[in-house]
Symmetry: C2
Subunit: 467 residues, 2 copies
Amino acid sequence: MSETELPEAPAPEQDELDEDDRLRPEFVDAVLDAVAEGDDEAARALVEPLHPADIADLFELTPHEDRGPLAKALKDLLDADVFAEMNDYVREDLIDALTPTEVADLASELDTDDAVAIIEDMDEAEQRAVLRALDPDDRAAIEEALSYPEESAGRLMQRELIAVPDHWTVGDAIDFLRGHEELTTDFWEIFVVDAGHHPVGTCQLSWILRTPGNIAIADVMKREQTLIPVDMDQEEVALRFQKYALISAAVVDSANRLVGMITVDDIVHIIQEEAGEDTLLLSGAGDGDINEPIRLTVRTRLMWLVVNLGTAMIASSVVGVFESTIAGFATLAILMPIVSGMGGNAGTQTLAVVVRAIATNQLTDSNTRWMVMRELRIAAANGAALGVLIGIGTFLIFGRADLALVIATAMFTNNITAGLGGVLVPVTLDRMNIDPAVSSAVFVTTLTDTMGFFSFLGLATLWGLHA
Amino acid sequence: MSETELPEAPAPEQDELDEDDRLRPEFVDAVLDAVAEGDDEAARALVEPLHPADIADLFELTPHEDRGPLAKALKDLLDADVFAEMNDYVREDLIDALTPTEVADLASELDTDDAVAIIEDMDEAEQRAVLRALDPDDRAAIEEALSYPEESAGRLMQRELIAVPDHWTVGDAIDFLRGHEELTTDFWEIFVVDAGHHPVGTCQLSWILRTPGNIAIADVMKREQTLIPVDMDQEEVALRFQKYALISAAVVDSANRLVGMITVDDIVHIIQEEAGEDTLLLSGAGDGDINEPIRLTVRTRLMWLVVNLGTAMIASSVVGVFESTIAGFATLAILMPIVSGMGGNAGTQTLAVVVRAIATNQLTDSNTRWMVMRELRIAAANGAALGVLIGIGTFLIFGRADLALVIATAMFTNNITAGLGGVLVPVTLDRMNIDPAVSSAVFVTTLTDTMGFFSFLGLATLWGLHA
């Protein structure tokens, strides 16, 4: 990557990062070797030029047991900004080693939202100790933030923002900004409020810069605003930022009073997390955080696997019904998993598309019927193609037209089942307010397994197939 | 949602949107009914208050065949901003019905990046016709953008930006902004350049507003900048924006000269797409766009299903080897799919976690070995638990200790296979520069199917199990 430290110098090569902005393994090893040898100075010299986000990455790439010594060696390079960028589990690890006063010092350097992110994961006794060590203003702000539900706008927002009365001129606003050193510098828009502190408009800083000072701010501001209710879920906040291409947005309480501001840089990682979690949830891998303690990971995954073991046994009991057919013609056992497995694959495809479309608000009540028809047509086309292929293959390998016809029919039937199930299961769960990403896969694979065994072995039995 | 149109009035209820910012089906129906009845005025009156993003959604929720009449009824409400917000396929649909001059008119109203997004999907003859209809400046800008690779920073950037020389004062910059009406108003930072037009610093607008006019801009600007090479892939651009919490960034050519600007609102939907595509790619559902023509969707999905049919037949041939064992003991056919299926589930969990960790740069060469050990430990724990469970279940149902022991051992073995395969397959593909999300699943499920059948039936044969 190209970062210019000084305008005169050519952009220095950043040896510590590869072309994808990842820390090079040799760099990580060099730092850890220095720490292991007790050469803290060398470690600090290596890490000093890094961006806080990269220092956070360094801790994530460091084995669990080496994080403490690394933190000790880096001392104040490990500042509040680094903690704000760090993975939750890795941060908890390090925070556990600090005293409440040290945590309070870190928190007081940060905007409310970042301070809350650090404090919200601590247990209650520790939280109280840290809050006591904070100065009263910071404490009040953080306590209020903690009073909102987890993953709500109230936790995400910062209280540091610029709000000006609607009777001011642009010049008044500029004088106010120049005259108050204590105000935040991290803002991209200013909010215009009425006497009751209700937001009535938003002003991009570029508009203020482009407008003569004597113009009323009410004539510059945009009156249509996208306001965020303080109890809104962070996933909805993220979708709203994305849909309306927001840079920042005012957060309002139930009386529509301005209580905070959310900026897009706090939203970007939520958009990324929420968009990425479908894969993990569909597979039953929980939040899939690689820094999660192994015990928690095993518990999450095992729960899902045990549920699937139960459904697999149900599907297998269908095979049990046809035990005598199989005993008379063992070739059926060879082909049977192909029918169920291919149904599972087709169902997973439909499921992936539908779950994604629901999560991004593209699939709504308005187009559900259209979506079902669409997936049915796709399933019919794919089912027919796969049926013909497996039919031909079976005939060529086993030389039996009856077996070929049975497996082709079963394959087509199971594809239709997969297409229908792949849409109807997640849509139904969503209408019942159950997250379709979490539970759909279990139902759909049970459906395609059962239907795969039943259609293939059932047809074979009806047809009287035997060796 | 709460939008205030006029500060005096209470926030009007937005009847057209539900609580998740989705258009209500009744609203969509009302608009389409009005169009069907030829009452264009009524349709326009309903749609007029909507945000461009919502008008774009309306077209996406409208059945294919009704989109033309809807566009005709809405006339100029269907403006450039609406096209910029629209799904690619739906936009192509509508753009196809326009003349090159009409498309050129739309494009000239937009920033370069949005204009390019509209034009890049047209076929070459149409592109040329549209470019001819543009005025020379716009044409040059768009032609240059099109000269960069698809999905690169050059396509994403806008050329409308504010750059000022490094010898100016803050006051000079403000005078420049006030004195030039033709400049863009959509910017959040200004870039400071040297005589060779190389960026030497970035200035947030808030800093300019907070600084007295006589201060040199070089004393206000931040010298550490994150510069984006013009040929960088959009996925890397998105990760960089996210990692360093950028609002906007300068784009530079190979000589490090400032050529454009990317703002975070253009990146947000890329972050969302790139993060969400893993689920779709892992399942072989392509880009999973529900507006894609059915023919393309069938082709994408069928290709993947056919590959899987091939691997399923390979796995089944393993069953074929043990045909006589099954013929002698058909109960094995009942239990066999449980072992292979559970291995597939466990493999999918590991795969989902690993693919996500690779995509977000969390899994790098520095921690691959640690990750393999982590997944092995998880697989051992889950495999042991599932082995005990299925062993007990088998003993209770079939009353045979030998069968229970065989399936328990096979289950454990297949979980270990799944854990190892789930890490090693995507890591290896990634090192070979193959997207692990696209190809991993085929390899891993083939592995778990084959190993599931082989370990279970092989052990049963070795043990000499029979009815």
